[in-house]
């Protein structure tokens, strides 16, 4: 007979058996533990300061729903202002549900919500680009376009609403995968940028914070379910077999036998990062310029987003429209 008693309060039904530390928790103590841990991460790493206006990316997926719900605790206490943004890339049969759930969550928490679409901003949808690319030689994956345009919209909206921080729902699995991937690929430039917050190199960029980075992905799924949220659990139809996915499977498999492996990967990385950064920064200075087309910060004369817009409108869609 297994013990079904909460190790915190004694309630006789547990929803999680944490092999990493031996805790068995009931629904209430589990939710409490997640919220306390995230708030502690925020406090310890000074992710927000009193009076910050935080713009949270709210896709309607589990990570972002958990994040907005926890950041809302700080909003309710009058410590921060909180607004949410949902980006509609135009992925038919997938994004509609995420947008609907994001709207419902924002309404339930009384958080001001911005919805920005590729279609209204750039005059195309992600589906349209992928359709136009069919049969072309230099076919790019959807994630390449999506990532660049999403980042740009995030930054633009953050500036428009005077947000002092952008919060994203990166979890412990995401962060561990990034550390291991970048290490295996020898990508030091990307590796030294992994952290609790990204310091903006340019005043046009709003600093990004990752309050959920110490919470395992599965626990975030459990947290939103136990909190009674409807969540968009479907995977993106454009998600593909990637190196990240392989690394994710490998780490999860490892985690079954070594339940503290993700925590130790993250903690040890944080310990060695200052040394790597110091050595790396000596040799590499990233150019800090401005895009000649749109005026946004760029490391080259034309930013990646403008390069893609030119290619999409002139080569793929042939509509001559380049006004992003």
């Amino acid at each position: 007979m297994t013990d079904n008693t909460c190790t915190q309060c004694g309630y006789e039904h547990v929803v999680i058996n944490r092999k990493s530390n031996g805790q068995r928790l009931c629904s209430s103590c589990f939710k409490d533990s997640i919220e306390k841990k995230v708030l502690k991460t925020i406090r310890k790493n000074k992710l927000v300061t009193k009076g910050d206006k935080v713009l949270v990316g709210l896709s309607g997926g589990k990570d972002s729903v958990a994040l907005v719900n926890i950041l809302n605790i700080l909003k309710e206490k009058g410590i921060i202002e909180l607004e949410a943004i949902t980006i509609d890339e135009g992925i038919s049969g997938y994004r509609e549900e995420g947008v609907r759930i994001a709207k419902d969550v924002a309404k339930r928490l009384n958080v001001k919500h911005h919805i920005v679409s590729f279609d209204e901003k750039y005059d195309f949808t992600l589906d349209k680009i992928m359709e136009a690319q069919k049969g072309k030689d230099d076919h790019q994956h959807a994630c390449t376009f999506c990532g660049v345009f999403r980042r740009q919209l995030f930054n633009q909206v953050a500036r428009d609403v005077n947000a002092s921080k952008i919060a994203t729902g990166h979890n412990l699995d995401d962060e561990t995968q990034s550390i291991v991937m970048n290490y295996l690929e020898g990508n030091i430039h990307n590796m030294v940028r992994i952290g609790y917050k990204t310091e903006a190199r340019d005043e046009h960029f709003t600093p990004k914070i990752k309050p959920l980075r110490e919470i395992p992905e599965k626990e975030i799924g459990l947290y939103v379910l136990e909190s009674g949220f409807e969540v968009h659990f479907d995977g993106c139809p454009y998600a593909h077999e990637s190196f990240r996915m392989e690394i994710g499977d490998f780490i999860r498999e490892l985690n079954l036998k070594h339940p503290t492996i993700m925590y130790s990967t993250l903690n040890n990385f944080e310990k060695i990062k200052p040394a790597i950064k110091k050595e790396y920064d000596k040799k590499h200075v990233v150019p800090n310029g401005t895009c000649e087309v749109c005026g946004e910060p760029a490391s080259q004369s034309i930013c990646k987003s403008c390069k893609f817009l030119e290619k999409i409108h002139n080569e793929l869609l042939n509509d001559g429209n380049q006004n992003g």
Binding site: T2, V15, N17, K218, L222, L225, A239, M245, R252, N255
Partner: protein, 66 residues
């Protein structure tokens, strides 16, 4: 024992031997335990929960990959 297994829109009645846990059934169904949350009769349970005859077991995939 007979249980109702719900995996998204896929609902099926399955016969299993007695005295199985959630973890045993996930293994039999080839579902990676580390990617799902399981509810039995609408209540969230841990992987070592015993499954009984006529139980309704719902599998909610919370992680993609694997």
């Amino acid at each position: 024992m007979s249980i109702t297994l719900i995996n998204k829109k896929d609902v099926k009645e399955i016969e299993y031997e007695e005295n199985l846990t959630v973890e045993d059934i996930l293994k039999k169904e080839d579902i990676p335990i580390e990617t799902v949350v399981v509810k039995i009769n609408d209540q969230t349970v841990t992987e070592d929960e015993k499954v009984n005859d006529n139980d309704k077991m719902e599998i909610i995939k919370v992680i993609y990959g694997g």
